[in-house]
């Protein structure tokens, strides 16, 4: 796959995720809690491409979300940018060949992203601090994200390695030796 094709594919996927999140997962919830597909998507990009691509996609998609629906520009952009950055760190330290490690990464990414956004919202908008309710919603959201990863993992692997071949080429296996 050429880099251009990969990027077109990623942009189309981002649109599909946006419409899924806005329409389907608005009512297909667990106790009223939606998953966060964008966290999974940015983590996927950062893991299989490189740090810069992960951060760029995170910031751009986050900014679009902020512009489209968010009350304050920048919160999602910074949050997803951090996930893109962290994904490359995860890639350096963990193997992507196991479903369990990917699930572990998604757990960490969702936890970091939502906590960061919640704290930032508290600082910017002085929202009420409801720690117990926040933890409850976050726990359900993490479980939902993990279930989605179980379902889409074969797709992530298939397309992920095609992306990795293009972006990393012969540097892929160096860390194992």
């Amino acid at each position: 796959m050429k880099k251009l094709t990969i990027n077109i594919f990623l942009i189309i996927t981002a649109f599909i995720i946006y419409f899924l999140q806005a329409n389907f997962f608005n009512w297909f919830t667990i106790s009223g809690v939606m998953p966060n597909l964008f966290v999974i998507f940015i983590l996927f990009i950062g893991l299989f491409s490189n740090r810069i691509t992960g951060v760029v996609y995170g910031v751009v998609i986050g900014a679009i979300l902020d512009l489209a629906i968010g009350a304050q520009i920048g919160i999602n952009a910074v949050g997803l940018g951090i996930i893109g950055f962290l994904a490359a760190t995860f890639d350096k330290n963990f193997s992507k060949d196991s479903r369990a490690t990917i699930m572990f990464m998604v757990l960490g990414a969702t936890l970091i992203f939502e906590t960061f956004v919640y704290i930032l919202n508290y600082i910017v908008f002085s929202t009420n601090v409801e720690i117990m309710n926040f933890i409850k919603i976050l726990a359900i959201e993490i479980i939902y994200n993990l279930i989605i990863v179980i379902i889409v993992y074969p797709l992530m692997q298939k397309f992920g390695y095609s992306i990795e071949n293009e972006y990393k080429g012969n540097k892929i296996l160096t860390r194992y030796f």
Binding site: I30, N128, F134, I151
Partner: protein, 271 residues
């Protein structure tokens, strides 16, 4: 290799099925009635068959003589039934049309004193922690920041940002929203804040020390704060939560607007 792939597909299918069950059960209010329904669906065909057999045996003598009359009667009834079904469908269409028109009329009549712009909700927040919405009117329609947004039942929120054709609304159930309100019975001032606890509920803070607040009290905007005009219905007191420290006690206000089903709003342009 083939077996591994097959097991993986089976695993994914099972996960999807489990996810669907979790979604259904976690959002259903009546899990017991679901089981009852499933059980009755399982048992009823057998029960019906047994009853039919029992009736047939007990009325065996007249069974063959009545069968021709029954056939004719059945045809007539089927004909009548299809005619009735047709008229029922027509009536249902008229009814839903009537309800939509009435809703619009109610909205404009109820808030006749305000100059309003009607709008549809075109997007809802994708986060679990904030509740903003986007409507299909913007600065081209005279919408400006901080304008109040209402629905037929009461207060929805206020405009936080505007583009040419859309406007972003921070609803009163958003955790960063604070509305200065007053109780209709005592005229005491309270502050209603959005909470993560419930979708259609607010947390009423700074409740006066005396027992002037009771369950069911109507809550309206007080007009303080400069955004919301006075007298817009917000909701009703659902329960009062007493704490050890009297100043910390709060009440849960059930919002008048059902935010899950909300799709039409009015923007007040002359606050």
């Amino acid at each position: 290799m083939y077996k591994k792939k097959k097991a993986e597909i089976a695993g994914i299918v099972i996960t999807i099925v489990i996810l669907i069950f979790i979604v259904i059960f976690s959002n259903s209010d009546s899990e017991i009635s679901f089981f009852e329904n499933a059980a009755s669906k399982l048992v009823m065909p057998v029960q019906n068959g047994l009853t039919y057999l029992k009736n047939k045996i007990s009325g065996n003598s007249t069974f063959f003589t009545d069968i021709n009359n029954l056939k004719e009667e059945n045809e007539e009834l089927e004909q009548k039934n299809s005619e009735l079904e047709q008229s029922l469908r027509e009536l249902e269409n008229i009814k839903s049309e009537n309800e939509t028109l009435k809703e619009y009329l109610d909205l404009t009549e109820k808030y006749g004193e305000y100059k309003t712009v009607p709008a549809y909700i075109i997007n809802k927040d994708m986060s679990n922690y904030s509740k903003t919405i986007v409507i299909n009117v913007g600065s081209d329609d005279g919408i400006k920041e901080n304008m109040t947004v209402i629905a037929d039942q009461g207060l929805v929120g206020h405009v936080v940002s505007v583009t040419n054709n859309t406007a972003k609304i921070r609803t009163i159930i958003d955790t960063s929203s604070s509305v200065s309100c007053s109780l209709s019975t005592t005229d005491e001032s309270i502050v209603c804040k959005g909470t993560l606890e419930e979708e259609s509920a607010l947390k009423a803070m700074y409740i006066p020390d005396d027992d002037g607040i009771i369950q069911g009290d109507s809550v309206e905007t007080s007009g303080l704060g400069g955004i919301y005009p006075k007298g817009i219905h917000v909701g009703n007191i659902k329960k009062v939560v007493n704490t050890k420290n009297a100043t910390d006690r709060y009440a849960i206000v059930e919002t008048a607007v059902d935010f899950e089903k909300l799709d039409t709003v009015l923007v007040i342009t002359n606050n």
